[in-house]
């Protein structure tokens, strides 16, 4: 590690723990990134193809070497196929997460999932109504059974169109129909993408990318939306709650358990076990003052949103948190769990537990959690964590935690506004709030950790743009102190006035990365209230530090839903300037929104502000002519 810690992360805990990790000879994601340099330019440009074994092939971007793969695919086709498969993988991940929740819902209805219940009956009933399941006079478990069955149909091929598309403004639905990109089945679109990208199927780069949008929409208005809604039914619709963030949430005198991953199915039960008198007594008998459950990544966000469980860090902190030597156990489910974690944990006393039948990791003990055994399994692993408390070596928790408020579901945001989006609309119309932006996505060692999220968010709120955030971006902004009521002091005068009156922070934590669909819900509500399309609204999306296939899919469903979206890192598309031009300009004519790529968050903020003012002008609202 030759670079200065300050060059790698803006977080104090990150810098101090990087130093500790180096001292402990623990290799981190930043070391491995350096070791990978230079990264392959063909792959970076999307110009390498490994789809069939007449290849592998690559196209020379300078035009002198090969210009086609063995099959004859040119740069446009190769880049489009690669991007298509990236979207399919992202959609598959979030939608499979959604499927797992629907399965739990079905098992709860059958009485085969002890420990889980229906927590939000009102949401169960409203969802059932949307899916055409009669609710009157029915037992909630019967409704759950029928709703789960109806949702499972969404994944298959028996539908003409996904049910939840109806939530979008009518104009948006018409655009999808006209372009032929209204998704028909969640798994169907992913499966069809794999088919189209097989050698010798779809070799139209435009038609491939149109299907890419349909595939992404099948996640955004299908799998992910179901994931969020069913999570709310099973574990409660989030309400604002105070919490704390950064590595300082670990406690020296308590058993520290970290949950990592995405699906609340396991972590919710671990939380219950941690709160049980039996386990607390056991911890006390071992000399611990309590059991401190904290999260990292999005399973942490799920618990933070619903229970105010503290958050130790985002993606690039997941290795560093172990270097505290204070984590007695890390329990993982799936997605974004670096396979290096077992090796890091081996330098400390930390026990690593993997829980999903579909996610195994080196250096972790595998304890498979299923809906029928989950309560027992959770108690068993928590007991092991308590036993491990006594094996701790020296502990290094270098910072104090920062306060934050999480839990802003759309229901709560509308509730805080008095039951209707009208006050928000009035504030936007008056120009007190210029517009809203979703700042979402991951960390990526190509961007200084949290610098993209925090800089962009600061610039947006100081220019009176309300920020809604999710995932690792939300954790970054919480660490930066943007999620307390006093953070209105970072905001411009208009946003400060509105948020101050409502007693909310200017940056609203709306959930995990699967919960980006809550933002779709909010923009749909705003568009419907104004009688316009989503693409007419003064709103934007940004993924300043994205890295994952899931984030690519989110970006595509945002744009296909009409939200202008600014990416930090460049996706692997520069091998085809046709595709670069389509994604950054041409899509405007099709879906009324485009992508922009801007790694510098200061410049990204200007792009978003300009976009928002342009949309204000088109709506006939007061606008600023000169931004930036």
């Amino acid at each position: 590690m030759s670079r200065k810690y300050e060059d790698l992360t803006i977080t104090k805990d990150g810098q101090l723990l990087l130093k500790k990790a180096e001292h402990d000879q623990v290799e981190t994601v930043w070391d491995r990134y350096q070791a990978q340099l230079p990264q392959c330019g063909y792959c970076d440009m999307g110009l390498s193809c490994r789809i069939c074994i007449m290849g592998p092939c690559r196209v020379d971007p300078f035009g002198e070497g090969p210009q086609q793969g063995v099959c004859g695919a040119d740069a446009d086709i190769i880049v489009a196929r690669n991007l298509g498969r990236m979207i399919a993988a992202g959609a598959a991940s979030h939608s499979d997460h959604g499927r797992d929740l629907v399965e739990v819902l079905a098992e709860v209805a059958e009485g085969r999932a002890p420990g889980y219940t229906i927590v939000d009956e009102a949401k169960l009933k409203s969802l059932a109504a949307e899916f055409g399941v009669a609710v009157d006079g029915k037992d909630p478990l019967q409704i759950a059974k029928e709703l789960a069955a109806a949702m499972q149909e969404e994944f298959g091929t028996r539908k003409k169109e996904l049910t939840l598309l109806k939530r979008a403004p009518a104009k948006r639905q018409d655009i999808w129909k006209k372009l032929g990109i209204a998704p028909r089945g969640i798994d169907r679109e992913t499966s069809e993408m794999m088919h189209r990208t097989h050698m010798g199927v779809d070799n139209g780069w435009v038609s491939l990318l149109l299907h890419g949008m349909r595939n992404a929409l099948s996640d955004g208005w299908g799998g992910s939306m179901i994931a969020t809604d069913v999570s709310d039914i099973l574990f409660g619709t989030p309400k604002p709650a105070a919490t704390t963030v950064n590595v300082g949430v670990l406690k020296e005198d308590q058993v520290n358990i970290i949950v990592h991953g995405h699906n609340p199915v396991v972590s919710e039960m671990v939380l219950q076990a941690c709160q049980s008198p039996e386990m607390l007594q056991l911890a006390s008998a071992k000399g611990a003052k309590g059991i401190n459950l904290a999260g990292v990544c999005c399973t942490g966000n799920e618990l933070l949103m619903r229970h105010g469980v503290p958050m130790a860090g985002n993606h690039l902190t997941t290795e560093l948190v172990l270097a505290t030597g204070a984590v007695d156990m890390m329990i993982v489910d799936y997605q974004c769990i670096m396979p290096s974690l077992g090796k890091v944990a081996a330098c400390y006393h930390t026990k690593m537990i993997s829980t999903s039948d579909k996610a195994h990791f080196p250096g972790m003990e595998h304890r498979e959690f299923h809906p029928d055994n989950v309560a027992d399994m959770a108690r068993m692993v928590v007991k092991e964590a308590i036993d491990n408390f006594g094996r701790r070596g020296r502990v290094y928790i270098p910072v104090e935690p920062v306060n934050a408020i999480g839990g802003f579901s759309i229901e709560t945001i509308i509730g805080a506004l008095g039951g209707t989006p009208q006050p928000l609309i009035e504030a936007i119309k008056a120009g007190k709030i210029r517009g809203a932006a979703g700042v979402v996505g991951c960390n990526n060692p190509k961007i200084k950790q949290d610098y993209g999220h925090v800089t962009l968010t600061r610039r947006l709120i100081e220019n009176d743009i309300l920020v809604l955030d999710t995932g690792c971006a939300a954790v970054a902004n919480a660490k930066a102190g943007f999620k307390v009521a006093e953070a209105i002091n970072y905001a411009g005068p208009g946003l400060k006035e509105i948020c101050g009156a409502l007693g909310i922070p200017p940056v609203l934590h709306v959930g995990s990365c699967v919960d980006n669909v809550r933002i779709l819900g909010l923009v749909s509500a705003l568009a419907n209230a104004l009688g316009v399309d989503i693409s007419d609204l003064p709103v934007a999306g940004a993924a300043p530090e994205w890295y994952s296939e899931k984030a690519a899919t989110i970006g595509v469903y945002f744009v296909a839903s009409g939200v202008y979206t600014v990416l930090g890192p460049m996706p692997p598309i520069t091998g085809s300037m046709n595709i670069v031009n389509l994604l950054t300009q041409g899509l405007n004519d099709l879906v009324g929104a485009v992508f922009a790529v801007e790694p510098d968050p200061e410049k990204a903020a200007i792009l978003i502000r300009k976009h928002i003012e342009t949309k204000r002008q088109a709506l006939g609202l007061p606008f600023l002519a000169n931004v930036g």
């Binding site: 670079r3 060059d7 790698l8 350096q34 340099l37 230079p38 990264q39 392959c40 330019g41 063909y42 792959c43 970076d44 440009m45 390498s48 690559r58 020379d60 971007p61 300078f62 035009g63 002198e64 070497g65 090969p66 190509k446 961007i447 200084k448 610098y451 993209g452 890192p569 460049m570 520069t574 091998g575 085809s576 300037m577 670069v580 790529v597 801007e598 790694p599 510098d600």
Partner: protein, 199 residues
């Protein structure tokens, strides 16, 4: 006489030259089997990372006069005049590292090699794929390079091409368009990202 020429502005950093080089200097000459050989074949060309992570294939220049040749006390390093190649005789090499200290480019490595006695560590560097050239083949790194960062040609022809490129770039009314706009765009993003870490 044809020589390997390096065109850094065309290196996309794929590192395929390294794998091809190691394979060319293996017993089996096939990547899939070469990785199972003892000693494990190693590349003579090494791709370095520049200021913003861009690639550069760092290869022996076969200097004349060659500092490594002058520094070698046992006389293991000599020049093969037909191919203008500086070569190391593994039987004479005493693994003293004098050549590596003298080399301004850091291209000499020390490890076991199939050309040396079993178990003996020797100085190893690019031999211009003399064995391949004798068989009528181009050096392995050049053959595998599809972006034109490594070429095997008469230096005069290569330099003429470069001269013309420079001349075109200063032509009156030259648009100054990059030859691969997508690659230029990717590099612009990489430069921007690298710049951010200093903020």
């Amino acid at each position: 006489m044809k020589k390997v020429m390096v065109h850094p502005e065309r290196c996309v950093g794929c590192m395929q030259c390294m794998a091809a080089c190691a394979t060319a200097h293996s017993q089996t000459k096939c990547l899939l089997t070469a990785i199972a050989e003892t000693p494990l074949p190693k590349p003579r060309v090494h791709v370095g990372a520049g200021l913003y992570g861009e690639g550069f294939p760092n290869r022996c220049r076969h200097c004349d006069p060659a500092p490594c040749l002058l520094a070698c006390l046992p006389g293991a390093i000599s020049r093969h005049r037909d191919t203008d190649t500086v070569i190391i005789n593994p039987d004479i090499c005493i693994n003293c590292a004098s050549c590596a200290m003298a080399c301004p480019f850091g291209v000499i490595r020390y490890h076991q090699d199939m050309t040396a006695a079993p178990g003996k560590t020797v100085a190893v560097k690019c031999d211009n794929c003399m064995a391949r050239q004798r068989a009528g083949l181009n050096p392995a790194c050049v053959e595998i390079c599809k972006s034109g960062a490594l070429t095997f040609e008469e230096p005069a022809a290569g330099l003429k091409r470069k001269t013309d490129e420079v001349a075109r770039s200063v032509s009156v009314c030259a648009e100054g368009l990059p030859s691969a706009p997508g690659f230029a765009l990717l590099n612009a993003v990489k430069k921007a990202q690298a710049g951010l870490s200093k903020m």
